[in-house]
């Protein structure tokens, strides 16, 4: 049960700053959706938290340790990532790919032991890819590959799970399947989940709270009900929108009504 606290986090590419002092409390055992227009800095924030991009300043506190100061393996034992662009190499089996999730727990030269295999197997069952364990990962469908990468992330036994557009390239059924699974991981396995989403309606349906980003800053953070107002979304997205209610769940439903 460990919240992730971002304090005044900033980052950028070359001379171009992208994140301007992000401060955000990401609740433990909950799903926080990161939403906002293209170029707002959502993926950059994920890249900083996963150690791919160095932060220019600020902290990311988890249990009193600053994630940004950790060595790669130490960080990877706490934070796992499901990246947006899936790249699964040819010829490796699903089991081999998921076992790679044990990397941060193993010394460089050591092979996987029985416990590593057990953790990987539990992760595969959790992500519902256990039946595929001996299949070649590169020959699976997009939805299956997404769950293989999710299983690999779970095999890291992380406290924090980051997902970058987990529903991109998936059909509706697989989108819902992944999002439901992610929600279970927060509820049941007590993972602190932060995911970027483009679909505001899905964010409202599946996330416990949403953080709205614009031009490298957090504009609003709270429940979808509070954050997704027509006035605020129109301003951030530069678009006329109407906000209604989901016919079954009652969550906000956002629809574009025309450009400004």
């Amino acid at each position: 049960m460990t919240p992730l606290r971002l304090l005044n986090l900033s980052a950028g590419y070359g001379a171009r700053p992208v994140l301007h002092g992000i401060s955000l409390n990401i609740a433990a055992s909950q799903v926080t959706a990161l939403v906002g227009p293209n170029g707002a800095g959502k993926s950059t924030l994920i890249r900083v938290l996963s150690g791919v991009l160095a932060a220019r300043g600020g902290e990311a506190r988890l249990n009193g340790t600053d994630l940004l100061r950790l060595r790669p393996a130490e960080r990877a034992r706490r934070v796992a990532v499901v990246p947006q662009m899936l790249h699964l190499p040819e010829a490796f089996t699903v089991g081999e790919i998921v076992l790679m999730g044990r990397t941060p727990h193993l010394p460089l030269w050591a092979g996987e032991g029985r416990r590593d295999c057990e953790v990987a197997w539990a992760a595969m069952r959790r992500a519902q890819v256990d039946e595929l364990s001996e299949r070649r990962a590169d020959e699976l469908s997009g939805g299956e590959q997404q769950r293989v990468v999710l299983a690999r992330a779970l095999a890291q036994e992380p406290q924090v799970l980051l997902l970058d557009e987990p529903t991109a390239h998936l059909d509706l059924k697989h989108q819902v399947r992944v999002l439901e699974l992610v929600r279970e991981l927060a509820r049941v396995d007590n993972l602190t989940v932060l995911m970027t989403l483009h679909d505001l309606n899905q964010a409202a349906l599946f996330a416990d709270s949403v953080a709205l980003m614009q031009r490298g800053e957090i504009v609003a953070h709270g429940s979808a009900q509070d954050v997704f107002t027509a006035e605020r979304l129109s301003r951030v997205y530069g678009l006329h929108v109407a906000v209604g209610a989901h016919p079954v769940r009652g969550t906000p439903v956002v629809m574009a009504t025309g450009t400004l």
Binding site: S50, G51, V52, R71, P72, A73, E74, R75, A76, R77, A80, V81, P83, H87, L88, P89, E90, A91, F92, T93, V94, G95, E96, I97, L99, M100, G101, T103, P104, L106, L108, W109, A110, G111, R114, C117, E118, A120, W121, A122, R125, R126, D130, S133, E134, Q156, E180, R183, E184, R187, V188, L205, D208, S223, A224, Q225, R249, G250, T251
Partner: protein, 369 residues
């Protein structure tokens, strides 16, 4: 905020029943054993064949008896002429061992580079070893540096230093901030390599005598100097092999791509540098004495990859053994086909390796890279 339906109980229950592991997980580690036995058998037969065949043929029985005598002090059952001992221990055996070490180094360095650069066309000479060694050797040849150092002539020293300096220059010029991106390393390798080759050509054309000798060296082949070169290259190759094997699991994770490797806790830049340095050290050492032997570092890893799949923890040791066997056979052909004249072994590796490789590619349609 929504209220969530709960299938949570069933999923949690399913997770708790991790009684037995599937074959698909523990399994894979034995997959390489058959290939290991196969390549080892190939290596031993190739080595025996190579010491038996020659202008004076030594019967296999005599070879084994004399080896037993020399290594274990067993008295041979029959008496053999002393020329057998001389040919075996002073000429053929050092050549076979030297060739084996060279093949092992080139094939395993090639395997590691293909993994590191995620590029099926990568070979041990990729980041400047070949052009650097060529330049160093040519410089030593045309300057006619007379001295010998520790009993070594100038050519291998020049080649070794040239290779190391060139790879160092490639890495330095490819550096962007604290990182050495793969793409800039490849491009810097091409640029620095082209420059070094141009200087080599210029030097060769200035002196006709240098041209002939440098050309001979560039084609590659055993230079016939007894056990001394074996003793010199062996430590470099052994250290390189151990370092590559220690990084084999990291190379597996590299296949995902560098960003995911970093997210999985791999110290990407460190692994990259260590693998390049290890591969460079062993390649430079064998090239310094054996010249530029092509194709071993390309055909052997790919053939084995088709056999045992993409796991570098299996591929590197198998390439070591397979590369040794392959080059011993190529060298045997090189000295017997037009005997008493010797072909450059690089010609044989390409002539024999390329068709074999194409055959393999056609037989196994599924891509493994």
């Amino acid at each position: 905020m929504t209220t969530h339906s709960s299938q949570t109980a069933s999923i949690a229950a399913a997770q708790n029943t991790t009684s037995e592991l599937p074959r698909g997980l523990m399994l894979e580690r034995w997959r390489g054993l058959r290939a290991l036995a196969l390549t080892t058998a190939a290596l031993l037969s190739a080595a025996l064949l190579a010491v038996v065949i020659g202008s004076v043929s030594i019967p296999p029985g005599a070879v084994l008896a004399l080896l037993g005598e020399r290594l274990a002090g067993l008295a041979p059952a029959a008496t053999y002429p002393d020329t057998y001992r001389t040919i075996l221990f002073e000429i053929r055996l050092p050549r076979v061992v030297f060739t084996a070490v060279t093949g092992a180094a080139l094939a395993s360095a090639g395997t590691a580079y293909q993994g590191l650069f995620r590029n099926p066309l990568a070979d041990p000479y990729l980041v400047g070893v070949a052009s650097g060694a060529g330049l160093g050797a040519t410089l030593a040849l045309v300057s006619e540096w007379p001295g010998r150092w520790l009993g070594l002539s100038a050519v291998p020293i020049g080649a070794f230093c040239g290779a190391l300096l060139t790879v160092g220059l490639v890495i330095l010029s490819a550096q962007v901030g604290h990182r050495v991106p793969i793409s800039t390393m490849l491009l810097a390798g091409v640029a620095v390599g082209a420059f070094a080759s141009a200087v080599t050509t210029f030097l060769m054309l200035r002196t006709p005598e240098g041209l002939r000798r440098a050309f001979n060296w560039l084609l590659g082949g055993y230079t016939g100097a007894g056990w001394a070169p074996v003793g010199i290259i062996l430590p470099y190759v052994l250290v390189g092999l151990v370092v590559l094997q220690l990084n084999a699991r990291a190379l597996n994770v590299f296949q995902l791509d560098e960003e995911q490797a970093r997210q999985l806790g791999i110290h990407v830049e460190r692994v990259k540098l260590i693998v390049v340095l290890a591969a460079t050290l062993m390649t430079s050492a064998v090239v310094a004495f054996g010249g530029l032997i092509g194709f071993v570092g390309l055909v052997v890893p790919h053939a084995l990859r088709l056999l045992v799949g993409p796991d570098y923890r299996r591929l590197i040791p198998l390439s070591t053994i397979g590369g040794a066997a392959f080059l011993i056979l190529a060298d045997l052909l090189a000295r017997t086909v037009l005997a008493p004249q010797e072909l450059p072994v690089g010609v044989v590796t390409a002539l024999a390796g390329a068709p074999f490789f194409v055959l393999l590619l056609r037989r196994l349609r599924r891509s493994v890279f």
